[in-house]
């Protein structure tokens, strides 16, 4: 499917799918951290590829990102993105330490965040898969710390969004007691949008 031809109803349906995934991912994060987690209403965006790198504060913004490719009935990718400061706070919370303890982004912080992001991504996609009665699994999560523009650009090309527009379903999480900002992007492969929307009966 050409994502530029999505009807408003289909866009709404994808937004709803994003909400369901986000709700489950937030529950998972809240259980991991033992604190309440807020989510923002997922934003669904259809962007020309030239504008993809400008989301999240500009192409050169440095972020930690965990990327999982989807395997199974749906193809696409999940991308968990955090600014460096929030990434360190998340690592502290996962180790039950005072936020601000971790000062540098080492292998252990990276490992913790990758695992947490993997859990979130699994919860997110499992909820969508259950809703649509599809078999979908996230692939092994991979980590990078670099410019957001390059990361998003790489992922949009990798998942097969070779058209000149890309579809991004974004959720922001905020842990309430300590502010931890994180975003989760769902980048569906345009071809698998047909499968997902077909399963939901919105063609």
């Amino acid at each position: 499917m050409d994502p530029t031809h999505l009807s408003p109803l289909q866009m709404d349906a994808l937004g709803e799918v994003g909400s369901i995934g986000a709700g489950h991912a937030a529950t998972a994060l809240s259980q991991l951290l033992g604190t309440a987690v807020d989510i923002e209403v997922p934003v669904i965006r259809l962007l020309p590829v030239a504008e993809v790198p400008t989301v999240l504060g500009g192409p050169e913004n440095l972020v930690g990102a965990v990327y999982s490719r989807l395997l199974g009935d749906l193809s696409g990718a999940l991308l968990f993105v955090q600014p460096r400061k929030d990434l360190l706070v998340l690592a502290d919370l996962l180790r039950s330490r005072e936020p601000g303890t971790a000062k540098s982004l080492g292998a252990s912080e990276e490992g913790l965040v990758v695992h947490a992001a993997g859990v979130l991504q699994s919860a997110y996609i499992a909820a969508i898969a259950r809703l649509a009665e599809l078999a979908v699994l996230p692939g092994p999560p991979q980590f990078a710390f670099d410019m957001i523009g390059a990361i998003l650009e790489f992922v949009t090309i990798e998942v097969g969004m070779k058209a000149d527009s890309a579809i991004l379903i974004t959720t922001r999480f905020l842990a309430t007691e300590t502010v931890v900002d994180a975003s989760l992007f769902y980048l569906p492969d345009p071809d698998s949008l047909d499968v997902l929307l077909g399963r939901l009966g919105i063609v």
Partner: protein, 171 residues
């Protein structure tokens, strides 16, 4: 201060001499303009420079050729389209013999699953197109697993490559 902290904000408030090239586009400029393209991942930034006229061009290519994409749209996204077009725009009907090329990008941002990455395919196609156009490739900073921002200075032909991992590199 990390090298990244003083990375410019060209994409946000380009000054009048900064020519910003976004993903899938190309442009030609003349000194004192500076051509900039931010955050190259698997994409490749291709620059051509004419020392005599102090003019140059830059393209930000995403994919090797139109056969890699279903929808056509912006044709300048493809190396096989963008490079001949860039050479033609820069030459303005005159010879391309003075041109020299420098390229950067073509990284694999996340661990590779063993298949040939888009980044290395992009680099290979860019080199093939430059060879076809008989433009010598005088410098490159390609591959790896890190993002790059590039700036082409048209008075000296200097290509400045900035990355979080390696700071500032002059090509």
């Amino acid at each position: 201060m990390t090298p990244a902290a003083d990375m410019g904000d060209h994409w946000r408030q380009p000054d009048k001499n900064t020519l910003l090239i976004v993903t899938g586009e190309l442009a030609v400029g003349v000194h004192p303009q500076v051509l900039v393209t931010p955050a190259l991942g698997s994409c490749v930034g291709v620059t051509l420079w004419d020392a005599f006229q102090r003019r140059g061009g830059m393209a930000h290519v995403m994919l090797p050729s139109p056969s890699d994409s279903r929808s056509q749209g912006l044709a300048d996204r493809f190396a096989s389209v963008a490079i001949p077009r860039l050479a033609e725009m820069l030459a303005q009907g005159t010879s391309t013999r003075r041109f020299v090329a420098k390229i950067a990008g073509g990284a694999t941002m996340f661990g590779n699953d063993g298949s040939v990455s888009i980044g290395s395919r992009n680099v290979a196609e860019v080199k093939r197109q430059l060879a076809l156009a008989r433009i010598p490739l005088v410098a490159e900073d390609t591959g790896g697993a890190h993002a790059r921002t590039i700036e082409l200075h048209l008075d000296t032909g200097l290509l400045v490559v900035r990355s979080y991992r390696f700071g500032i590199k002059d090509l």
